[in-house]
Structure formats: C-alpha cells, structure tokens
Amino acid sequence: MFSLSDTPLWPAAFRAVRMFVLSLLAALLLLAPARAQSVEDLVRQLPEGSFSDRAAVVSQLAATGDARLVSLLEALAAGDLNVVEETGAVVTLSGRGDPLDATDALTGEGVGEVAKASVERIRVNNSLRRAVRAAIGQLTVMSPNRNTRLSAAGAMFQAADPENIPLLDEAIAQEDDDGVRRAMEEARAASMLRTEASADDFAAAVDVIAARGGRASLGILTSALPAASDEARPAIEAGIRAIENRLALLNVAQNVWYGISLGSVLLLAAIGLAITFGVMGVINMAHGEMVMIGAYTTFVVQNVIRVSFPGLFDWSLAIALPAAFLVTGLIGIAIERGIIRWLYGRPLETLLATWGLSLIIQQAVRSIFGASNREVGNPSWMSGSFDFYGIAITWNRFWIVLFALAVFAILLVVMKRTSLGLQMRAVTQNRRMASSMGIRTPWVDALTFGLGSGIAGLAGVALSQIDNVSPNLGQGYIIDSFMVVVFGGVGNLWGTLVGALTLGVVNKFLEPYAGAVLAKIFVLVFIILFIQKRPRGLFALKGRAVEA
C-alpha cells in the first residue's frame, strides 16, 4: 500500500491551468460577435493605404479589444501576414512550395490552399511596427480585463522579450492591481535579464525573479547565467540558490504532505488492529477483509442511492459510514463469539483461524460481487484539488487525512472517557483482576472486537475513495497495518498514530530516491531491524502485565 499511487498532482495542476485559460478564451470569444463585423472590416483594410493610414487602422483595431487580434498583429509585425488578392482575405501561410496552406489570420481557421502567386505579403515598416506593438500592449497588458492582463503578463514572462520592456513599463505605471503588477514586474525582470542592462537594473531584476521562485524562474536565471557579466554573476547565483532552497523546501513540504496522506491511510487501516491486538492480544488476520467489507458496503449504499435517491449522491459517504460500521462491527462480534473466544491465550492459533476466515470472506465477496473492481464514485466535494502555498492537495486525500484524525480522536475519547473504554483498559492490564471486579470480560471482548472491526469498516469507506474496490483490497493493507502496530507499540493508540505517520512520511521521502517498491522494501527491512532493537515497539507498555 505504500505503493498506492497518489494522483499525480502536477499534471492535475497543469490541467487546471489549461482549463482556466480555455474558459478565459471562450469568454472573450463570446464577447466578440457584437463587434465582429467591424473587426473583420478593419482587418480587411489592413493591406490598404499608406503606412500611416494603416497605423490608424491598427490603433482602431486595438480599440476593439478583441483578443483574437493579438496573434494577427504579432504576425503582422513579423511580416507573416498576407492578403489573398482575389478575396481580400487576410491570411497566414504555412507549408512549402506551391500552393501553400492558408489560415485565416483572425479566426485561425484553415481556408484551403492558395497559389503563391495569388497572395501578396502585407508589408510593414518600423513606424507601423511600433503602432502594432502598442496595439498589442493595449489589447493585452492594458486590457481592462484583469485576467487578460494577468495572462498577458504571464505570456511575456515566458517570452522574456526585451522589446516588451517599454510596454511593460507603461503598463506597470498605470496598473492598480497588485497581483497583476507583480506579474508584470516579473515579466519585465525576465526581459531585463536578456538585455545589456546596468548592473543595478540587472541585480534588481534578479531579485524580482528570485522572489518569484518556481522552476520557470530557476530556468530563466540559469539561462541568464552564461551570458551574464562578471559583476552580475554573483547576484544570479545567489538568486538561483535562493530559488533552489525554496524549491527544496517546497519539495519537502510536498513529500511531508504525501507522507501524511499515506500515513493517514495506514492509520485508518491499522487503528482497528491496534485495538484488537493491543487490548485483546488477538491477531486478526481478517482485519483487511473488514476494511474490504466496509468498501463494499459503500458500493452497495451508492448503488441503492443511484437507483432510488439520485439526489442524495453527495451524501452517500455520510450514509455509508454508519452502515459500514454496523455491518463490519456485527461481523466482528460474530467472529469473536464464534471463533476467537475459543482461542484466547493461543495467539498463533488465532492468527491461523482468522487467516482462514479471511480466505472465506474474500471468496464470499468474490462470489457475490465478482472478482473485478467495483466502481465507487467520488462525491463532488471529494473530487478535484486545491493549491496550498504551492502544494497541490487533492480533496479526497485532504478529507481522508481529516477523517483519519477524527476517527483517532473519537477513539481516544472512547478509550479514555467512556465506561467501555475503562473496562477495555482494565481488561488489557489485568484480565483476571478485571473479571473478579465484576467486569464481564467476555462482553468486553466481544465489544472490543466489534469496535476494532467497525473501525476497519470505516477505513473501508475512506479507502473506497482512493483504491480499487476488489476482493483483494484488504490483503494489500494487512501486512502494512501490522507493521504500523508493531512499530508503534502494542496497546498504545498514540504509538499507532506516530507509527503510521512516521512510516508514511519515511516511505514518501524514500520514494524519489529509491522508487516506490524499493522504498517499501527499505521500510520493511527497517522495521524488521527496529523490532530487534525494541521488541515492544516505540511506545511500549511497561510492567509485568505485558510480559505474561
């Protein structure tokens, strides 16, 4: 389970950005039709008249604020714009030889092939170019739309074109949104690094980039390094180091998060085991199957909801939680009454009997639900992700961490504050004494086992959100759960918490260096060695009672 693949967050973040940009463009396109006629007319006027007439056309175009014009104008400035003589259509050309493929410069749609001879290049001179550049600026960094300005600044940061500097200066001067201004300053700084600017300007630019951080900034600084003058070099190097440190820190934070996420899954899977093992000394090898039954309960609940109450789907997990707790808890009590109570004081036999039971349960589930994975849906609030200081966090992982901690807290309260918990602890410490003081130990045993199994069921509900729901679901968790309990120390819930989180984090830190499988092997070997050093785990109960 250490190998459980986390949803890769970077691609997810990337997708989110792309979605954002696409919707932005879509919104802009929706605005377009009202003025479409005039924009297209103006474009058709581009090839005609003197350079100054055409400069006027360009500024009129800029006034329309149509975002599609940006690429058209860029093509114009680059001298890539052509006019088809017959139709007067303004196109860009691609391909080789004759005829060429023509694309409408405004809409970006292909308009078929044109013969080389039938098109004429739209010529530009420097004054027209200036007008074009100003127009582009007006369309983008000076657009009234904040998001347009922001993405324009972002694009300019990527391009890092020194020619953008005057435009950016102008835009920065009149910008009143802090976020956008910062983006523009960063774009300006990135462009500045490509110039022969003075050492002071250069250092200031490096500072801005270094403050921005991120891999792109690192790339810019690194590429600026070879060409930089000697006096500028130390500043750049310092900037690179600063960014790298920050990136490393972010990386650490990200790994810690992944580790906590994995640890919370381990905690969920192990905590029920910690109770049955710690309190009763019972090795329940069917614990994983209880988790699996919890997951299948979620599947059944969701199916009922889909068929009968589709409106409740977002509540399906909330409904599945008590259902899973009850189902697995009752099964647990049945197991305790039917099998385990005959085997007290014989832990190895209990281990074997419950293993047999796990085989039976697995096969039963396979017979009922089939061997293949079952689809358990994520409610809307479990889908997607959010960004937390540069760390992308998926909602399902986030909720599972919270859920695991909540289960842990509730369990602590149950153990410390309720009479059941008191009796359980009494039985752990001295079974005979507890029984002679009037505690009905068989009853406590049954309820304890039921509680442990019920918590496994809760874990199953959570795991159904991130793992495949199949009859083998539980098997993947059982060894790791035991490792957590043994590592943390038997009979101590805090030990289980620390054990689970430690193993989760250690595993995730090893993964980048060793790969998931090797990391897991290392962790196993580490625990095997650790048990030699501290046979009773991190937080062992002390005293004579444990020795027996």
């Binding site: 085997l343 074997l352 096969q363 098997q475 035991f482 092997i521 048990i531």
Partner: protein
C-alpha cells in the same frame, strides 16, 4: 533399557514413513517407465510430476514442523527459504539453456538480453556448475535464516512478533524479486528450462529420476530431523518451546537452540524448493507470497505438528484436495482451505496424527484399566509401568496443541 525402547518406538513411526517413502521412490518411477501406456497400474507422467510436487511440499512442511512443532517458532516466512532454494536451482537450469534461448545468447539468459544487459551480474557467477548451485541451494536459505535468526532470537523477539516479522521478511523478498533490476527475471521468474545435468527436463526418465530423488531426500530429511529431535538437543528444543526462560536458568542459550533449528529448517526448505523447480518447470516471485507461507502452516497443523511425519501426511492430503477442488469446484477451494484453517485450530489442535494418537491412548487406557481390574498385580516394579504411562511418555514431544501456554515464572 526401557528408555531405549521408548525412543525406538518414537523413531519407529518415523522409520516406517521413511521406509514407505523409499518404496514409493522405487515403485512410482518403475511403474511409470516400465509399464506400457494405458496399463491400469501405470502412473501417468503428469501424476509423477504432481506427486513429486506434493513431496517437495511435504518436505517444506517437515521443515516448518522442526521449528514450529519443536521450538515453538511459528514462521510465516518459510516459503521464502523454499523459494530461495528454488531460485538457486532455477539459476543453474537457466545457465544450462545456453544459446538455445529465444535470443540465442550463449552467455546471458533471455530476460537479461531483453533488459539490454551486457554481462552476467556477479551473483550469477558459478551457477553454471551443478555442485556450486547445489551448495547455494543450502547456503543461501541457511545464511538468510542465520542472519535473520541471529538478530531476532538474540533480541528475544518471540511469539506473534516473530511471526509477523517473518511474514514481513518474505513480503520484502517478494517485492524485491518482482523488480526487474534484481536480475532474477522479475515478474516472470525463471522458466523454459531445457536440461538438468545434461538430461532434458521434460523427458519421462528425468522426471522419474527427479521423483525418486525427491522421495529419497524427503526420507533422509525425515530421518535427520527425527535424529535431531530425539537427541538431547531435541529435548532442549522442546524445553525452549514450553518454558524458554527456564532453560536459560539452567544454562542453555535458547537463542542458539532456536538458531540451530531455524537454520536446519531453512536449509531443508531450500532443498525442497530446489527439487520443486525442475519438476514444475518454473520459479517466480509468487512463491514468496505471504499467503503461500501461511498455507504451509495449515499443512503442518492439519497433519499434526511436533510429529515430523504428520506434516508430511498433511501436506500431501491438503495439496491433493487442492488439486481435486481446483479441477472440480475451483470457486469452492478457498472456502475449503479457509474452513480447514478454522476447523483445525478449533477442533483438531493436535492435527490428524495427534488426534488419532489420542484415540489410541484412550483406547489403551480403557484396556489397561479393565486389565488391571481383572488381574491386579500390585507390583511397583518400575521397569514395568502401566501401559498408559508408556503410551503417553512415548511422545515426549507430543503435539501440545498449545493448550496451556506456560509462562516461565
């Protein structure tokens, strides 16, 4: 001397089983090779391989019994030693393929060519030699058991903790062997064997020989284990099982006793694995799966632990049942196996052999009592104790069924 006779009686059953194994070692290959195909008494080819496989499993169960039944170490990782022995044999068999592989590379097994490896990794050196491979069949599992046991037993890791870390051990090994980089064929393991000692593995004469070797090896292992358990050390082993710290206070070192048994057991398991591989024609990381090792425990338990020959019976019975079930009702097999686990622990804690032994004791008991009623001898000649006593003490290491865990102090 009565003790001598008692010990002989204990050895007697083991000797019988060993003798039966030796007879099988002759009869099965003979019937397979000498009788014409279609003869009602002929053991068909597939059956020879199947029986051979059962016997290697029996040897694995025997190995487990030595540590579980006699020293109380429930290893949930014995499949690892079996698999390591199997891999050592598999590596020899891979080297024998030579240039007959798909890629026809005389030096490298196919999967290495596939991985673009240019030369044989160092840990494959020497496996072209049969004697070296056979040495490794014993050394590798033995060494792993030694290192693992050295740490575990010295730190006094016992009971379920030990069981759990043995399980973690085999699990870690499984994950390792699944990796292609390990150089053991990854997922697919080692297969497509051609020759063993120059004889084609598939030929019926080779298969018959392998079967005979397996049966003889099992008989030998049984006798060795029996000799160990009947020695004074064997008694110390049982003492360690029942009251570990008490043995310390009379000067024994339980950790070394355990280590000895664990290493011998691992070597036996390794040999079983080595015999298994040429007969089934493949070894892959699945053999390390924790579930496999636990299954061995149920063979041992059902046969009767602490009896040595019980696990042999258990392994053959359970595996025969598995073959039959997976043929007739495949979906019911796991129910049956799971049910076996539960039933054995609840109703047959001493296994088949132990339970049958109990019946016999009870029967003799009754007879002895009625005999005593008829002819009260009234003698206290200690050289002739009542039969019941002899029957009980005939099995000093009788399966306890762990009915009474006995704390040392």
């Amino acid at each position: 001397m009565i003790t001598q006779r008692l010990l002989n009686a204990l050895g007697g059953k083991v000797l019988w089983v060993a003798a039966i194994l030796l007879v099988i070692a002759v009869l099965v290959p003979a019937s397979n090779l000498l009788l014409p195909v279609g003869h009602p008494l002929r053991v068909p080819n597939y059956m020879v391989a199947l029986l051979g496989k059962y016997l290697t499993y029996a040897m694995l169960a025997l190995a487990l019994d030595l540590v579980w039944g006699y020293v109380g170490i429930l290893s949930l990782g014995h499949g690892a030693f079996f698999a390591l022995g199997g891999y050592a044999m598999g590596m020899y068999l891979m080297r024998q393929i030579g240039d007959r592989g798909v890629y026809a590379n005389p030096n490298l097994p196919d999967f290495m060519v596939f991985l673009n490896w240019s030369e044989l990794p160092w840990y494959w050196w020497g496996f072209g030699n049969f004697w070296f491979a056979m040495l490794m069949v014993m050394v590798v599992p033995g060494l792993l058991a030694f290192v693992f046991g050295w740490f575990a037993f010295r730190s006094r890791v016992t009971g379920v903790y030990l069981s759990i870390i043995t399980q973690a051990m085999t699990y870690a090994l499984m994950l390792s062997f699944f990796r292609n980089d390990m150089g053991f064929g990854g997922n697919n393991g080692l297969t497509d064997f051609k020759d063993i000692l120059g004889h084609p593995v598939q030929a019926s004469a080779t298969r018959a020989t392998l079967f005979a070797v397996t049966a003889i090896a099992l008989a030998a292992a049984l006798l060795v284990c029996s000799a160990i358990t009947r020695s004074k050390l064997g008694k110390v082993m049982v003492a360690v099982r029942d009251a570990e710290s008490r043995t310390r206070f009379i000067g024994y070192r339980p950790e070394y006793v355990k280590l000895f048994a664990f290493v011998v057991s691992a070597i036996t398991a390794g040999i079983a694995g080595a015999l298994y591989v040429p007969q089934v024609g493949i070894i892959n990381p699945g053999e390390f799966a924790p579930a496999n090792s636990i299954e061995v425990v149920v063979w041992t338990a059902i046969g009767g632990r602490g009896t040595l020959y019980g696990p042999i019976i258990g392994a053959v019975l359970v595996n025969y049942a598995k073959t039959w079930f997976t043929g007739a009702y495949p979906e019911l097999w796991l129910f049956a196996l799971g049910g076996l686990f539960v039933a054995v622990t609840l109703f047959l804690p001493k296994g088949i052999v132990g339970t049958v032994g109990d019946w016999r004791t009870r029967w003799r008991d009754r007879r002895a009592i009625s005999a005593a009623k008829i002819a009260p001898s009234g003698t206290d000649d200690s050289s002739d104790p009542p039969k019941v006593v002899r029957a009980r003490s005939a099995d000093p290491a009788a399966p306890l069924g762990a009915s009474k865990p006995q704390p040392a102090e």
